[in-house]
Amino acid sequence: MSLKNFNWKKYTNYLVVGGVMLIFGLLSLVGVSDASITSLLERISIAAILAVSLSMVVGFLGELSLGHAGFMCVGAYLGGKVAALLEPSLGNGPLNFFIALLVGSLAAALFGVIVGLPALRLRGDYLAIVTLAFGEIVRSVVMNLPAKLFGGTLGLSTPRMDKKYLFIMGFLLLLACLAVTQNLIKSKHGRAIISIRDNEIAARATGIDVTKYKLFVFTISSFFAGVAGVLYSFSMYTVQSANFDYNYSIEILVMVVLGGMGSINGSLIAAALITFLNIQLQTMLTGDLAVLQNLFYAVILILIVIYRNAPGLKGFREKYNMRTISEKLFKKKKTVVENADAGEEEATNE
């Protein structure tokens, strides 16, 4: 495939994520960017990994999971603990990070299997109930274990890795998460997963192994929640179980729902926007005004929901959405893209 026929449209999200990573990576390299920007980017990458992985379960598989923060908690604590144990021998370089990443994400995936195996065999909303309980159980267990194990209520301290480049790691992992999710959804397995969401009885009658797919998707999703957890533990220096409560799971769910069920890019954008909004509110409203944070947050979410769904705004939405605006801005480019599409179709027809 020559560069001219390359279908850029298909890879827009990779390009945007990779582009942001490169730009800020360079800025960081020359010393222009400051700690507040890098920490914002870290938190965005973490939120985006969580939202994209949850959208697989909620948006494509059609099962409700209310315990995504619980799996993140498993990743954060186990990854953080491993990193802290290895720090004396390996230092706090990338090697330590990767080992922690591996341990944290695989442990979260294992918990995904343990939770999913009984819950996903049942029809109905059992997964929501079980994951909700799981999230709370994990949180209170790590809090109440002896302090020398996971730090108890004070939290677990993790190695202080060079924060300058942690967000690059976060974005690379986000790219990996995007690639896995997208490749899975745009394949025979993705069709099977969507068929389960659309009509489970028909999917069974069509020979789809429903339990296998449900368990697989849930496990992959927990795996990436674990990845996000490990990133979080390195980003925050300390892991505190109180952060992984029910509200955090709901916040991730809000990102998926606002992004549009069954839209990977939507989850990505919503995750970035909500994280940005949260941090802005936290820095702008301090002192006595801090009580207003939640109020503003709620009002903005309500406005977004109204904008997305109100029937009266339909015309407005169609006139000013991302697609039409980008088409207007890049009118010349669009014809090129269309040619590229045609080119690829010809290629596949041959």
């Binding site: 899975l184 025979k188 068929s195 009509n199 028909a202 009658a205 020979g207 789809i208």
Partner: protein
């Protein structure tokens, strides 16, 4: 030919056989002692008044319910109590009384889901986009398109399944069932909600599927014109039990059958 040999040769081309099939929901015997024998290439009708247990028989055959007692044999193999997906892989495909398509997938993707067990490609091959993925996707597309052409749905291939007209949705459901490469096709009231023209078209389609694929078909139907027109043999159910069975003309003129349908 002695008696023993005759039974063997009789059973040889039996695609489906049920022996004393029963299911009980609490105090209700929804299906009671149903014995079906369907031969290869046959179009068999299952009829009866509302609530007679016809769809329950389908749900038993496809593994949605597990029978309380009795046996189901598909091509001589015991499939009693197996899971729906497993039974589909062994060769039974079905359509539903209330259409169940994958509404957010396109027409061609619906058929591609039906092909899922025909063309191998595991998850790692898909996730890492190995060469097998691309080759299998091409095969999926081509085979699905071929099937859509047979059912004259190819011009709608990129429509969302939900946006198809009613009659075409029925057709697509049959196409999706055929994509799983069954030996026995179960059609649950395919003419429900259709006007006379659409029913006629459907009858032609069913005859066509039989001829083209040599398919054995078990049909639930209310429309007596359709049943009388295409079925060779019938079983009439009433309150879960067999009221009559045999060739279509005899069964339909049976006074007890007429009574069950029309009352005294």
């Amino acid at each position: 030919m002695n008696e023993q040999e005759k039974i063997v040769s009789d059973n040889k081309d039996l695609v489906l056989k049920t022996e004393h099939l029963c299911i009980q929901f609490g105090g209700l015997r929804a299906v009671d002692d149903v014995n079906l024998e369907i031969r290869e290439g046959e179009l068999y009708g299952l009829i009866g008044p509302n609530g007679a247990g016809k769809t329950t028989v389908f749900n038993l055959l496809t593994g949605v319910y597990k029978p309380t007692s009795g046996k189901i044999l598909l091509n001589g193999q015991d499939i009693t109590g197996k899971a729906p997906a497993e039974i589909n892989r062994l060769g039974i495909a079905r359509t539903f009384q209330n259409i169940r398509l994958f509404n957010n997938l396109t027409v061609i993707e619906n058929v591609m889901v039906g092909l899922s067990n025909q063309i191998p490609c595991n998850m790692l091959q898909s996730i890492f986009r190995l060469p097998r993925h691309k080759a299998s996707e091409k095969e999926y597309y081509e085979r699905a398109l071929e099937l859509l052409k047979v059912f004259q749905l190819d011009e709608y291939k990129d429509y969302l399944a939900a946006n198809l007209p009613y009659g075409k949705q029925r057709k697509l459901e049959i196409a999706r069932a055929m994509a799983t490469n069954p030996t026995l096709l179960l059609l649950d009231e395919p003419a429900a909600g259709m006007n006379p023209n659409e029913t006629q078209e459907l009858m032609d389609d069913i005859t066509f599927v039989r001829r083209e694929f040599g398919m054995t078909i078990l049909l639930i139907e209310h429309d007596m014109r359709l049943v009388g027109g295409i079925c060779e043999n019938l079983t009439v159910l009433n309150f879960g039990t067999e009221l009559a069975k045999g060739d279509t003309a005899t069964v339909l003129s049976n006074p007890t059958v007429v009574k069950a349908y029309l009352g005294d």
